[in-house]
Symmetry: C2
Subunit: 240 residues, 2 copies
Amino acid sequence: MKLPILEIFGPTIQGEGMVIGQKTMFVRTAGCDYACSWCDSKFTWDGSEKEKINLMEPEKIWQELNQQAGGRFAHVTISGGNPALLSGLGAFVDLLQANQIKIALETQGSKWQPWFVNIDELTLSPKPPSSKMKTNFAILDNMIASLKEKQKGSCSLKIVIFDLTDLEYAKRVHLRYPDVPLFLQVGNDQTENVDDDKLLHYLLNRYDWLVQKVMESKALKNVRVLPQLHTYLWGNKRGV
Amino acid sequence: MKLPILEIFGPTIQGEGMVIGQKTMFVRTAGCDYACSWCDSKFTWDGSEKEKINLMEPEKIWQELNQQAGGRFAHVTISGGNPALLSGLGAFVDLLQANQIKIALETQGSKWQPWFVNIDELTLSPKPPSSKMKTNFAILDNMIASLKEKQKGSCSLKIVIFDLTDLEYAKRVHLRYPDVPLFLQVGNDQTENVDDDKLLHYLLNRYDWLVQKVMESKALKNVRVLPQLHTYLWGNKRGV
Ligand code: SF4
Ligand code: SF4
């Protein structure tokens, strides 16, 4: 089955979340069922790059990865958009694993796919109030229960934090799923900023703020607080 | 048994390594069997803070942790110096675990302790050539074999990289222990620098350099490349 692919690039580092720093290739799928107010990859779903979408068979994506970085990677990150919209991704996951490639994938957790259980590092990233989206906790409950039962790899929750309301949301999520490792990430509301040095200092200040808030909290004891490292290195540039 | 403790502080984030970003308390022990050229905690072994060392029973350390941050932590990081010099740390590890506290510990891997198997996140940080220290691979081989067999938690290797010779050393280590997750960390040779902004840009440049080198490498495929996040936030300040 052909998959709508928007970008294939790397190797580079994963800048955020549970495998932050990991050397990886990125495969970005097109399409999302959400429309987060601060989405930093609107181009995957707002139609602005529709003509750039490539419909590719898994075998073709694998060839492209090898053409770009053959022999230099052992890890692939599938991102979006929401890659969980694509039932056909299962075949690509199988193909990568047949080639001893580890796979990370991020989704907001709005839709289950049976191939989730084969992902090595699955990040569920429910969206906080600032996104203007609403979490369907019934779906997320089922998803986390199924993963606990059947997933071979590991799974974590990641919540992007812009303000104190988001932080309260994170506490509720943490209370609901206390056993699932929770990553809190500094939100970037300056995705149009091209002054890298200003952006860096702004984001470091926001990170400092988030760290302080979490350090004060009794509800958020066993959590990890992280920035997006790629923005420190490369600002808002894409494809690095 | 009393333990020589130099610092107890937090909660703060773990700035580096396998649990980067983790909310944690720090307990720093005094004493080291190495003398790395670029050691960023020379005060633990060079005699300069001898009068600050507190000889403390595990129960007393636990009290102090709770006095500073009772109810706000679920994770303790034991660092040094080399905490593996202290056979008596086992009792402290037991005490923390009896109180449902997770424990991370870092050592260069020069000395085995039976209580290693109880550490939740153990970082072995063998020192590259720039340190002027020499790795005893026979000891490290045994340590890693014992951990594989008996450790309940997880373990990783972390190597600080200052130059290309260090990177070659990292490749050899990775080849020797391909199954152990490997973290490469940017070396900070500016530990006396108090100009935080200059330091930040210097360290980001070094991080960028290290990322590029690893991305080009075929030997270093499945690795993670990380900075020290606390230096981005707080420069070379101690106790934050
Ligand atoms: S779920 Fe992700 S890709 Fe979709 S709109 Fe939200 S931030 Fe953007
Ligand atoms: S092993 Fe660690 S504490 Fe000891 S001298 Fe080296 S860097 Fe410093």
